[in-house]
């Protein structure tokens, strides 16, 4: 019951954030966004036709009223039809979100898992050549642009100038085999980039834990390295690690996949959102931005509950 009460209180506390995010994005993307009036009209429209289209698009109503309607749409989760394709927005999201998830999940998991693993190795050998090599690679990973990594992997793995193993671009997935073919190159590229930042961050966290007295005591008792790393160091540094992983989820789902999706021409949620911004497809934009804000608040809540799970001293107040 405690957890449920806490969750409800936390969700209510997240309302200002949702209002803020939806307001800023509404102002930028919808109010000041592209005007679709003349794209929907034929040649030489009359004044009445222009007024009619503007009324359909809702451009003639005052700002606050339009924002209020938007909030209502978020609450009811009914965003209407896309202006560009006429498809219901909910159907578009249902089609594209699974693709984005399938695309980013392997890279996200591997990037964090390998990051923690490398960080453990580096932290354990702190100051030695293993540490220096790993951290050297991590600075290199941080210094290469994501776009460069994608292009380099594409040349190496899927062009006739390299191994030519995988399709160049696209997303034509019907079986597990197809999935592996299309997901490998994007995954390798995102793991490469994520490892640079993740390893560095996790190493700093782990090294801090490693200099604590209880670790020295455990070492003095002759504990095995594996047990020391897992039980005494990794478990005690769980909070910052969880924080980093959890907080990157909303951004990875929406924004992290945008570059990969537009580079490889994959029809995920990042791509349709980007297209919606450039064409002024307001129903799609409103839906994605609103849901991102809600996702953020849910993530905040889930993170707090996870803290409680890994550290009983944390109280949910």
């Amino acid at each position: 019951m405690d957890v449920l009460q806490y969750a409800i209180r936390k969700l209510i506390g997240g309302i200002p954030l949702i209002l803020g995010v939806s307001f800023v994005s509404f102002l930028l993307m919808v109010y000041f966004g592209p005007d679709q009036t003349f794209e929907l009209l034929g040649k030489n429209p009359t004044v009445e036709e222009i007024a009619e289209v503007r009324r359909q698009l809702g451009y003639d109503r005052p700002f606050l009223m339009r924002y209020g309607e938007y909030l209502q749409e978020i609450v009811t989760l009914d965003f209407g039809l896309s202006n560009s394709t006429g498809e219901p927005v909910s159907a578009m999201l249902a089609r594209t979100i699974p693709i984005s998830l399938a695309l980013v999940t392997p890279g996200f998991i591997l990037g964090n898992l390998l990051g923690v693993l490398l960080a453990l190795i580096a932290a354990y050998h702190r100051g030695g050549w293993i540490d220096k090599t790993i951290m050297g690679f991590s600075v290199v990973g941080m210094s290469v642009s994501f776009l460069i990594v994608i292009i380099a992997f594409q040349i190496l793995l899927s062009s006739s100038f390299g191994l030519n193993l995988f399709p160049v671009r696209g997303w034509n997935v019907h079986s597990l085999q197809d999935y592996v073919m299309y997901v490998t190159v994007p995954t390798l590229a995102s793991v490469f980039v994520a490892l640079g930042y993740n390893t560095r961050f996790y190493r700093a966290v782990l090294v801090e834990e490693m200099t604590r007295d209880h670790v020295r005591t455990a070492r003095a008792f002759g504990i095995q390295p594996g047990k020391l790393l897992y039980k005494h160091i990794l478990k005690n540094s769980a909070i910052p690690i969880i924080t980093r992983i959890m907080f990157s989820i909303p951004l990875v789902v929406v924004s992290g996949s945008l570059l990969i999706e537009s580079y490889f021409g994959i029809p995920g949620v990042g791509k349709i959102t980007f297209d919606a911004i450039t064409t002024g497809d307001q129903p799609v934009l409103k839906a994605v931005v609103g849901l991102t804000a809600v996702l953020f608040v849910i993530t905040l809540l889930a993170t707090d509950i996870l803290y409680r799970a890994v550290d009983p001293r944390v109280s949910l107040k």
């Binding site: 460069i148 909303p250 953020f296």
Partner: protein, 307 residues
């Protein structure tokens, strides 16, 4: 915004005592300078950054890199004496373009780093000094909101709201990149405001704003300097991706534009654009990262105590 999520250890406040004593190495800056000058990778990084800076200044004053838009070479020309790195699809010299792009990169990096550091320092100091009041809540709320909007979508939205203004990218970066600086400054100021020198200033009737600007913000300069270098790197790295998405540099040339130009060329087997721009960008970012790391080591009082 994940590009600027560097971890900086929350060390105890480094109170600048320069002027109070003539022992220079007593102050945090004297110690840091001494420590930094003995850090080989940091000095190497600084050296490389300075070389790039000279290149950028040369372009600025019109000494070199001026023929970047001249169309005179062959299509996809290979390396030759006239065109050191070859020429691109319409015959522009790739070497000249890479050199000119150095200026573009420094313009973006400096503008974004300076402005977002100023905003981060001001808002962070205000939030920290008045922590627990409504001023703090509003600034924290603003930070939370800006952090929750996906970065590339935010840039795209700003670009369209400003209707293709060439500064849209800078505006978007500044308005999102200040948040990390702001958070770190806020934490530091919360510690600083309980120190005796702030209490003393208050006791003799110094106005609050004067306390913030004269006594508190100068004591966060070590955070601001490190953050500015991190934001600089984040800005020039973001430029590449934004230019690829068509939201970046609008006129002129940049490494990002060159790389996005190359995305179609590499599959046809022409690599010069890609390699030249990537190498220029990588060396600068790598050097800046090394410089920034050493600066962080030198300025973090906790690390000074450890070694």
């Amino acid at each position: 915004m994940s590009a600027v999520t560097e971890h900086i250890g929350p060390g105890p406040a480094g109170i600048d005592s320069a002027g109070a004593t003539d022992e220079r190495r007593e102050s945090i800056w004297g110690k840091a300078l001494y420590k930094f000058s003995r850090d080989r990778s940091g000095m190497l990084g600084l050296g490389v950054v300075l070389v790039y800076f000279v290149i950028a200044l040369g372009v600025w004053f019109g000494i070199w890199g001026m023929e970047w838009s001249d169309v005179e070479g062959p299509k996809w020309g290979s390396m030759s004496r006239e065109h050191w790195f070859g020429s691109n699809i319409i015959g522009q010299d790739i070497f000249q373009r890479s050199i000119y792009s150095t200026k573009t990169a420094f313009e973006i990096g400096l503008v974004v780093a300076v402005l977002s550091t100023i905003i981060g320092a001001l808002l962070g100091a205000l939030a920290g000094f008045f922590s627990g009041t409504w001023i703090d809540s509003i600034i924290l709320w603003l930070k939370g909101v800006l952090d929750s909007i996906p970065f590339y979508l935010f840039v795209a939205a700003v670009a369209f709201a400003l209707q293709g203004n060439p500064w849209a990218m800078h505006v978007a970066m500044v308005s999102t990149f200040w948040t990390t600086t702001g958070r770190l400054v806020r934490g530091e100021v919360i510690k600083l405001r309980n120190f005796e020198f702030v209490e003393a200033a208050r006791a003799i009737g110094v106005p609050q704003l004067t306390i913030i600007f004269r006594h508190i913000i100068p004591n966060t300069f070590h955070i601001l300097l490190v953050q500015a270098t991190i934001v600089f790197v984040a800005a020039i790295k973001s430029e590449v991706i934004l230019s690829f998405l068509g939201l970046g540099v609008q006129d002129g040339v940049s490494w990002g534009l060159m790389i996005s130009e190359s995305t179609l060329e590499v599959l046809a087997g022409f690599f010069n654009n890609f390699i030249a721009a990537s190498a220029f960008l990588f060396v600068l970012v790598m050097a800046f990262n090394m410089f920034s790391d050493s600066l962080q080591d030198a300025l973090d009082p906790k690390k000074v105590a450890e070694s």
